[in-house]
Symmetry: C2
Subunit: 273 residues, 2 copies
């Protein structure tokens, strides 16, 4: 738990909370390029989440070239047909790193879920392909994914809409723009429904870099881990939609850059801290 | 723990997260008047926290009269001399309930702390006087009190300013307007410094009604309890001011109206839930 089958040579995942620095020091994007091979990196950009894919493609192409990637290529996927096409699949054979932009996480899963591109991504990831995603591209990493929520300040039943992600990182539930959009209660509501998942609330310009069962935090903000393993009580299931939720006995950890976490045993790794 | 000497006949405390309903159903203020004696209630309003005390006095006088209190009187305390004066002390003998308005919590402790009024409040509370406070009037209830914080979205060292409250409810650290102003990380930062205190984050139009070692939540929002008893790690004390804080192993409970909590044993009381 998380029930993740980790292949020996599986690549890193870089899960970014949105609004990462693309012009300054670029701590997170630089790390992604480094993991994907640095000067030998071949980066594929997948901007299916976005309404303005060309704009984002341009921005990220420029950033990754500036950070030293050898080749950068934006996938042209606007239909499920494209995601089942030869070009998309071949790109996955070519790439050492794939970057999912922000936008709507539902657009990603609707356009890519179950396609040949999806299959190629998983197969290549097991062989070492590094996969990064920011904002919507982060949300879709898990198996259970937050799709959206009614705008509400309080913890209420039925306000968080959940769906299926692409499942690169099962066992977690990711929320992004976490502190900036005050999403603790949204993630708590989701976790109360799925206490077996570990909640990861990722701030803007902040990422978790996952390898195997461990992640390390990088970037300028923090990652809030919500562990409902010790949940002693919730009234979820007893209250009506939009009534206030009670959630008792949840553990949280707030981790800035440099901190590591063991996803399997649900504990921060504190050696040297 | 909390180290509260609870006298057998000590009155209730009504600790309100600010912006309580004063014109509609008035769930919280109605409950305060009821606890203070209902139709026999004699309410003293203390608005020393505010820059516009007369305005607040008028508002609350009207509200408490409408809710059926027999007599309502606003204390005229603008100096420490007033707080040491005969009139203030006599008012405490007369009142069955005291209500502290919002404003600045430091104004309360600076004007009232250690005065004869302060002593009379504590003595009379032990004999049954009900004490309520909203916003700043809630913050000052504890022994360690949040005075203010730099506006920051992230959990950083040294951004929360702590001071001494009037200590009606030792063993806790109260933050108000909790969800509305996104103060989880502010309260976490305070609790990381004082893990022996229990953090109470009270939403607007929400209150905890304390009797002895137990409180019950009332109002339209929730109370977030932060328990750092199981804190496994923090980098506080190692990092510089304004660096990001790590806080590991904190337990939280989010409790809507009707939920009770045992402050001494740090557990929600879930009978019948």
């Amino acid at each position: 738990m998380p029930k993740r089958k980790v292949e020996k040579h599986a690549g890193h995942l870089v899960v970014i909370g949105g609004a990462e620095d693309r012009e300054g020091e670029c701590r997170i994007l630089r790390e992604f390029v480094r993991l994907a091979g640095g000067r030998r990196a071949r980066i594929a950009i997948i901007s299916v989440a976005s309404d303005v894919p060309k704009e984002l493609d341009g921005l990220y192409e420029q950033a990754f070239r500036r950070l030293g990637a050898r080749e950068v290529h934006a996938l042209d996927v606007t239909t499920r047909g494209d995601a089942n096409g030869e070009e998309a699949v071949l790109s996955m054979g070519w790439a050492t790193g794939v970057f999912f932009t922000g936008g709507s996480q539902l657009r990603i899963t609707r356009l890519v879920g179950g396609t040949r591109l999806d299959t190629a991504l998983h197969r290549r990831h097991e062989e070492g392909l590094v996969i990064a995603g920011t904002s919507a591209g982060a949300a879709m990493m898990s198996s259970v994914m937050i799709v959206g929520s009614s705008p509400t300040m309080t913890l209420r039943a039925g306000v968080v809409e959940l769906g299926s992600g692409l499942g690169f990182l099962p066992g977690v539930l990711i929320d992004q723009h976490f502190e900036q959009r005050g999403r603790l209660r949204r993630l708590l509501a989701a976790i109360a429904q799925h206490p077996h998942e570990l909640g990861l609330g990722i701030d803007e310009d902040t990422a978790v870099v996952v390898r195997g069962h461990t992640f390390e935090v990088t970037g300028s903000g923090s990652v809030t881990v919500i562990d409902a393993g010790g949940l002693t009580h919730t009234n979820l299931g007893e209250v009506e939609r939009h009534e206030l939720l009670a959630v008792c006995g949840v553990r949280i950890h707030v981790l800035p850059a440099g901190y590591k976490f063991d996803l399997q045993n649900r504990v921060p790794l504190l050696e040297g801290k």
